[in-house]
């Protein structure tokens, strides 16, 4: 964003990070797998989903992650969200994260919309008082004012996404992670979500955005990370990264 941001201390630091997964999920298990810890050795049925990934993010930056399917984009997002741990290297994230990943995961079918808002916002670290103060905002944004006492299971899938986005995007966290969740929902609401993300960006939040849509990437991001087979092959201005991506996929 502005030049001033590049001087601040990084909020995300990924140092030579790598993570490996099993190729065959149904393979035989041993106790060695379980307690293997940080061995660098690769067993025959494993592959590196990410390897030697190295970058830092400063506060206020808006970063788009680009790459074809299965090249490690979502895994990178999970590493930054700290919901998985690297097998080698270091991922350090200063400040909390508002993850728009599997956003409907925390909601409980049998509880009402009101109860679910308090539950999910609480799980992401908000106190009761903070939620009280934001509650109307959250409901207004989700356009669910008439459904406060409706059990979550009776909401349509569009309503569910609206509620989830509304809650997570109201979290007071300095880093916003967005996976391709916004593909759902009608066009009107998607535009509203995008406006909200821009608002947060203008407010100084850091954005980490995974998408296949060039338009969206250009709209939000200034810097791009291009992943190929788990390696970070290009880290630069979003235009350059998209250009390279387009060139690679054309052939």
């Amino acid at each position: 964003m502005t030049d001033g941001t590049s001087l601040a201390a990084p909020v995300i630091e990924v140092r030579n990070a790598g993570i490996r997964y099993r190729r065959n999920k149904r393979g035989r298990r041993s106790f060695k797998d379980l307690f293997g810890g940080e061995t660098r050795r690769l067993r025959p049925d494993e592959f590196w989903a990410l390897k030697q990934v190295d970058f830092t993010v400063r506060p206020g930056e808006a970063i788009g992650v680009v790459g074809r399917n299965g090249q490690g984009k979502s895994t990178l997002l999970k590493l930054v969200a700290e919901v998985v741990m690297p097998d080698e290297g270091v991922v350090s994230v200063r400040g909390g994260v508002a993850p728009l990943i599997e956003i409907t995961g925390g909601f409980v079918d049998d509880l009402t919309v009101r109860e679910n808002v308090y539950l999910t916002a609480g799980l992401h670290g908000m106190t009761r008082r903070e939620i009280d103060a934001r509650f109307d905002e959250i409901i207004d944004f989700a356009e669910l004012g008439d459904f406060l006492e409706t059990p979550y299971k009776h909401l349509s899938s569009g309503m569910r996404v609206r509620l989830a986005f509304s809650v997570i995007s109201r979290l007071e966290e300095p880093i916003l992670l967005v996976d391709e969740v916004l593909a759902v929902g009608d066009r009107g609401f998607r535009e509203k979500c995008y406006a909200r993300i821009e608002e947060l960006l203008a407010g100084g939040r850091t954005l980490f955005f995974v998408s296949h849509s060039e338009r969206d990437l250009r709209r939000f991001c200034t810097r791009g990370l291009y992943l190929e087979r788990g390696r970070l092959v290009l880290d630069g201005p979003i235009e350059d990264v998209l250009e390279r991506y387009a060139a690679d996929t054309a052939t």
């Binding site: 994260v97 599997e102 995961g105 509880l111 799980l123």
Partner: protein, 268 residues
């Protein structure tokens, strides 16, 4: 929409110690809320199960066969171990699915992972506390008297929380890798029910078995619970062994959990 709508961004937050306990409480009470909002009997279900079990054992051991174990009144004797057993059984049994049931949440939030086990111990523990009036009612009804050892109740509850958490921390991550363990645990729990002094007392065991029973931490635990009504049941040797084993299990549990966390997160 203006940027003013972005309220208080970048609030500086130090390490938020209160957050762990807040989230733990939220998750523990969520289970109870769901249970009570979806069933019309609600609270009754928490006590119906132990109640029915007690009636069955009472019938078998006092009406059908001549009982030579336990103390009078037998129903109070039974409940004073059966209710804590329900807590233990519920928490350990549920810990086999601690991660699997909440996979979506585990995958999308950075909550300290021990919470997924601890919340089961807490929510089953709350149910246990809710069921205490049942035993109080039976005590009044059958004329049992409490003694000063009732003051040991918090100690017993703490000991049980330590023990159950330790076992849960071992079981929960292992089940993710060895699904068979889920059934094995259920089976083991059924065995442990009879191997623990619930329908009988360790004092009823033949000579020689007493030493063996000490290695079951539930022996010491239930002796603590029972001492409130039956002073003779209190056996500090059993309690000491139970405490030592519980603390050791918690240590092992934390170790297993830390070491396997990385692999568990990848798997679910």
């Amino acid at each position: 929409m203006t940027s003013a709508a972005v309220s208080a961004p970048l609030r500086e937050r130090g390490p938020d110690r209160g957050r762990y306990w807040r989230v733990l409480w939220l998750l523990a009470t969520r289970d109870l809320k769901v249970r009570y909002s979806t069933s019309s009997l609600g609270y009754l279900w928490s006590i119906l199960d132990p109640l029915l079990m007690s009636v069955i054992y009472w019938f078998v051991f006092t009406q059908v066969i001549q009982r030579s174990v336990g103390e009078e009144p037998y129903i109070v004797f039974l409940l004073s171990a059966l209710l804590p057993w329900m807590w233990f059984n519920g928490a350990v049994g549920d810990s086999t699915r601690a991660f699997l049931r909440e996979a979506k949440l585990v995958r999308s939030t950075k909550i300290p992972r021990t919470i997924w086990v601890l919340r089961l111990v807490v929510s089953k523990g709350i149910e246990f506390l809710f069921s205490l009036p049942v035993i109080a009612a039976f005590a009044v009804f059958s004329g049992a008297t409490v003694n000063a050892d009732l003051a040991l109740l918090p100690v017993a509850i703490l000991l049980q929380a330590v023990l159950t958490t330790g076992i849960g921390l071992i079981v929960a991550p292992l089940v993710v890798f060895f699904r068979d363990l889920e059934r094995a645990v259920k089976l083991a729990l059924r065995f442990v029910f009879y191997a623990s002094p619930i329908v009988y007392s360790t004092r009823n065991l033949p000579e020689g078995w007493h030493q063996l029973a000490a290695f079951n931490p539930l022996s010491g635990l239930f002796s603590l619970y029972r001492s409130a009504f039956f002073a003779a049941e209190l056996d500090w040797y059993l309690v000491g062994v139970a405490a030592a084993i519980s603390v050791a299990l918690l240590g092992i549990g934390l170790l297993v959990f830390r070491r396997s966390e990385r692999a568990v997160l990848k798997e679910i």
